[in-house]
Amino acid sequence: MKGSKAVFSLLEKEGVEVMFGYPGGQSLQLYDDLIDSSIRHVLVRHEQCAAHMADGFARATGKVGVCTSTSGPGATNLVTGVATAYVDSSPMMVLTGQVPTTALGNQAFQEADSFSIMMPITKHNFRILDPSDIPVAVRRGMSIASSGRKGPVHIDLPSDIQKIEVPEEAFKRTYRTPTAIEDFSKISEAVKILMESERPLLLVGGGAVWAGAGPEIIKLSEILMAPVATTIMAKGIIPETHPLSLGIIGMHGKVGVRKAYLEADVILAIGTRFSDRTAGAQSGLSPSTKLIQIDIDPAEASKLARTQIRLVGDARKGVTSILNGLSIQKKESAWTRRIKEIQDACNCNINIMSAPILPQKVIHDLNETLDKGAIVTTDVGQNQMWVAHFLKTQNPRQFISSGGFGTMGFGLPAAMGAKCAFPDETVICVTGDGGIQMVFQEFATAVSENLPVVVCVFNNSWLGMVKQWQKLFNDKRYSGTHLSGNPDFVKLAQAYGADGICVEKPSEIKEALQAGYKAGVPYLIDLRIDPEEDVLPMIPPGDGPATIIKGRCTWN
């Protein structure tokens, strides 16, 4: 079996059903053997979007997303998407063509040192210099991507290697699987602290979603009567209509969540790395607040000097161990009443029917019209934070966003990746007029591959989040943020064979959404939103909770 055929044969055995990619000179053999493979190929219009689609597929399913490109510019175009997946621990297999081994290092046409370029943004990578190494690289690569703290794995395949026969015995070769580091030795101590706590709070991050720990976390919160704050990566791990759900914490999190976080006496952090945009600023935490942290990555656990109990391992396993140690059901208390009081006091004073359209009105209508199984992806910037703040998710993996890397242009291809996985579910991409123009060409892919996603463009003719920072922190000195000359997005979508509508009145939003859900083709809703609307509340960068800019937030 030739190298390239072996790659597909091994991927098929690993359960891969779809691959997103773009061919080129050094992946010709791969694409030739792809014809005979059962793996569906989605031909993108830019390699970056192949990586985002694979990432969106992975985030929606929990399975490894697969993408491919040719060498040189193809591989470097993948980089942003691979880095996006790496930062959010999304499992991905990245296959790149490479110049023949005889040409390596000679600045051959379309040669880049993809192996080195990908190294800091992948969990692991392989450059195959011998076809005998293909079976182990693919099988081990898939295992690395989907185990422990998940992440992308890259395989660089020189074109001559793709054409050479792989010896039969190479398929029998085994590889070393290091034992995962796990340390739950302090579980009983953690249980004791949680049982004795008067004001426990669960802080949940993306690691809990990847571990599938949702049901256990809900059970734990109900036993402890502990409210649950999530990072945007864990949005939906507990239904946001659940009485113990506080919502998202962070720079643009709810003021009430921050308040509960600061008042808690014990915080159980599950699968979260305390990033600077979420719960990183801890200056406001009382010195007596106890932190218990569960993280699968021992290099993340106890990153904070204040962590009292460090539990290393899978979030689901860790929470289950805690559950097994708990003996009593906590009851209503002063803390639960305080949480209710905080939740009741945390409201936004918004007249959603005002014109021009407020983004909150769009999300309000999404909440009213979306099915339970719908998936919402976002781009990055104001659109992302509005959705994170106001969308009421019911399930983990229902909200997909580039959290750590903050990649503009992520939303549309991620939605298409999710739609590939769940063709019968409604998939919405909420994006801005900046982000959508980075990837608009993928409407061609969406049409040709029959991926009817609904794209809501929050169009305010500005790079809104940057503008907001310039407004708030640079004395309204706007620089490089006005998007003049935006095209007619609806006509542009129609030119690709998609459809759409421009909406300027709040009363027209719901109808437009429902038209999109039923369209049967990719559908763009150009929402002309108020350019003066900011994402608030906001904790200024580097500041603590005392300096929150509240805006329409009525909490006091």
């Binding site: 080195s116 692991h124 290099a299």
Partner: protein, 114 residues
């Protein structure tokens, strides 16, 4: 000290990981021993402590990452020609033997007579 499989990119991965974690390396020594690669790094690890070892152990081909204890001796010498430094001898057992070995090598290099 980091010991890992002799695989392409291991040293590069270690350097990247140290850089990513903001660790300033003063000296680094690498040797292939059979199918293993041994890397010794002299670095200021700041407040990373055990987390750095975990981060290095997290690299796929690394089998062991540990701080070398106090009785591990490394002898370095600066080349008079290139001014670059090179490691003469390393080890944790019989420090006097290692020191003797190091002195012999220095003498060989500098042609001194004992």
């Amino acid at each position: 000290m980091i010991i890992g499989e002799r695989s392409p990119g291991l040293v590069q991965r270690v350097i990247i990981e140290l850089g990513r974690r903001g660790i300033e390396s003063e000296k680094m020594f690498m040797v292939h021993e059979g199918d293993k690669t041994k890397i010794i790094v002299e670095a200021n690890v700041g407040k990373m402590n055990g987390r750095l070892l975990h981060a290095l152990m997290g690299l796929q081909d690394v089998e062991l990452a540990e701080y070398i204890h106090e009785d591990y001796y490394c002898f370095w010498k600066c080349s008079p020609n290139t001014t670059s430094e090179f490691l003469i001898s390393c080890g944790e057992e019989n420090p006097s033997e290692i020191q003797k070995l190091a002195e012999e090598y220095i003498c060989k290099y500098e042609k001194c007579e004992n």
